[in-house]
Amino acid sequence: MVERAAIGRPIAAIGIEVAAVAALASVAFLVELLVRWSLQ
């Protein structure tokens, strides 16, 4: 029972999830730079 309206959106959903991972990676990279800089 998959709603008809939902069928056209899976690729967009995957795109949003991948973008969320990229955003998390960006934040993590900033955290890394901050930690390394503060421990120098």
């Binding site: 959106r9 959903a13 890394e32």
Partner: protein, 499 residues
């Protein structure tokens, strides 16, 4: 305490039989793989496994034929028993392959696969047949979705009591009022990701120089190991073997997606894009991930192992994402954690494994939802302290829709959280009692109990049998979130002492 009657036992046996038939059907996939690659001995191993599961499954259904519907206590016991019997029959091809040191090791690897843990005791992994490798990865993919979810999709059409089976596997979200439709929606999301993820990984593997057939197999297996947050890979160096930043980036996207709640996936499928930034589990994951990344970064900066910022980030982000989603993929040697990363970075990884990712996903651990709710309880208490006595203080959270924090939710969250923390402590204690250093015992014990599968080198076939059995039980308890196993224990006690 009501003693279960013969009809109750018959009901459990009959439904367990159905799930075991489902396990036998799954074995047809590695059987076909073995035949395609002319691995005749391996095909015979799987034929034996299929015959055994068919005989047990159909035998149970014939002997205990029933028209009664499942109730809650039956459903939970069916899940527990089905996982144990599935582990036993699933171990047959492993044992017959000659790659396992003992029946305990074969059962360990199957339980590790089904529970999406990813620890393994299989020997000479780099020379395992395509058929057996397919079975390892099918096990972990099926376990990630839930073997009962798969059975619900194909074998339980229209069964009212099927919801009890679904709940018993640690999944309690209803994407639709009908649980069979919910199971099919979960299947739709997973199969869409399977098509996209396998294609991407296979193309990268092909670009890295693998022959087409091997690239497709590796793409499929790595997808199954990643999306299920299982962590199985077809070689002992795991994903380190590929030495490819593109491959690692694709793997991270896949295993993070696997760690998201299926209800969140479904909300995005319905076009509710704001859910990704409003959901309590996503917020909880982002916050704890950032905190633990700071801890791991501090540990690695102290050790000075990665002077280059890009290499530092690539190693740390991949391993922490793998740990926090309870996947277990790695791009470093096991002992590197102990001899080069050091205790601070290891503690950051352990903390991530303790929490894990989302409820109703393929991930393990305490889960971000529970951490989010506990945080809300703290905030509510603080607000009460600073508010006038007459003020009514409530906390809200968003998970698909808005909720007001209720005592009932808090009670359920705290019960499961305490159970997890107790199990983590016990697993650490067992490791220390067997002579392993504290941090290593904690790392490996938490990894097993949270269904992560990262190893710092404690787990080997030479490890004491008692520890291998304890790890197997911990993986089982962690995956079904205790309730089903407690129900089985209660069932046993009621059978003996009930009235």
């Amino acid at each position: 305490m009501i003693r279960p009657r013969r009809a109750d036992h018959a009901l459990v046996a009959a439904y367990t039989g159905r799930v075991i038939v489902g396990v036998g059907l799954l074995m047809c996939i590695p059987l076909v793989t073995a035949l395609l690659f002319a691995e005749w001995d391996v095909a015979v191993d799987f034929a034996v496994g299929i015959l055994a599961s068919s005989a047990i499954g159909l035998g149970l259904q014939t002997l205990f034929h029933t028209r009664h519907e499942l109730r809650r206590r039956h459903g939970l016991v069916v899940v527990s028993v089905a996982w144990l019997v599935a582990t036993a029959v699933g171990a047959i091809p492993f044992w017959l392959s000659g790659h396992m040191g003992s029946v305990i090791d074969a059962s360990f690897d199957v339980m590790s696969g089904l529970t999406t843990t990813g620890l393994y005791l299989i020997q000479d992994l780099d020379h395992v047949s395509n058929g057996l490798n397919m079975w390892r990865h099918v096990l972990t993919f099926a376990g990630g979705l839930g073997i009962v979810v798969i059975a619900l999709t194909f074998l339980f059409r229209g069964t009212v009591g099927a919801y009890q089976l679904y709940v018993g596997e640690g999944k309690d979200e209803r994407l639709f009022p009908n649980v069979v439709h919910t199971a099919r929606a979960i299947g739709s999301v997973s199969l869409t990701w399977l098509a996209v993820g396998t294609t991407v990984l296979a193309v990268i593997a092909f670009a890295l120089g693998q022959p087409p057939a091997r690239a497709v197999l590796h793409g499929l297996w790595l997808f199954m190991g990643g999306f299920s947050t299982g962590g199985f890979a077809p070689q002992s160096y795991n994903t380190f073997w590929y030495h490819s930043a593109a491959f690692e980036a694709a793997c991270v996207a896949i295993f993070v997606a696997g760690s998201l709640n299926f209800a969140l996936h479904w909300a995005l499928w319905r076009g509710e894009r704001a859910e990704i930034r409003r959901n309590i589990e996503v917020i909880s994951f982002a916050v704890t991930f950032s905190v633990f990344f700071a801890v791991v970064s501090a540990g690695l900066a102290q050790s000075g192992i990665y002077p280059d910022a890009a290499v530092f980030f690539r190693k740390a982000f991949y391993l922490l994402a793998s740990a926090h989603t309870t996947t277990g993929f790695g791009t470093i040697y096991s002992r590197t954690l102990v001899v080069q990363w050091g205790p601070v970075a290891m503690m950051g990884i352990i903390a991530a494994m303790v929490i894990g990712a989302s409820t109703c996903s393929t991930a393990g651990g305490i889960k971000g939802f529970r951490v989010g709710v506990i945080t809300k309880v703290f905030l509510e208490d603080i607000r009460r302290m600073v508010s006038p006595d007459s003020a009514i203080v409530t906390e809200r959270f968003h998970h698909i829709r808005d909720y007001v924090l209720q005592e009932e939710t808090v009670r359920s969250v705290l019960t499961i959280t305490i159970a997890y923390l107790t199990m983590y402590a016990l697993m650490t204690l067992i490791g220390v009692m067997n002579g392993y250093p504290m941090v290593e015992a904690a790392f490996e014990g938490v990894s097993a109990a949270s269904n992560t599968g990262l190893s710092c080198g404690v787990l080997t076939p030479a490890m004491p049998a008692s520890m291998r059995i304890a790890y197997t039980v911990a993986m089982w308890l962690g995956r079904v979130e205790f309730l089903s196993v407690f129900a089985l224990v209660g069932w046993g006690i009621a059978t003996v002492r009930g009235r």
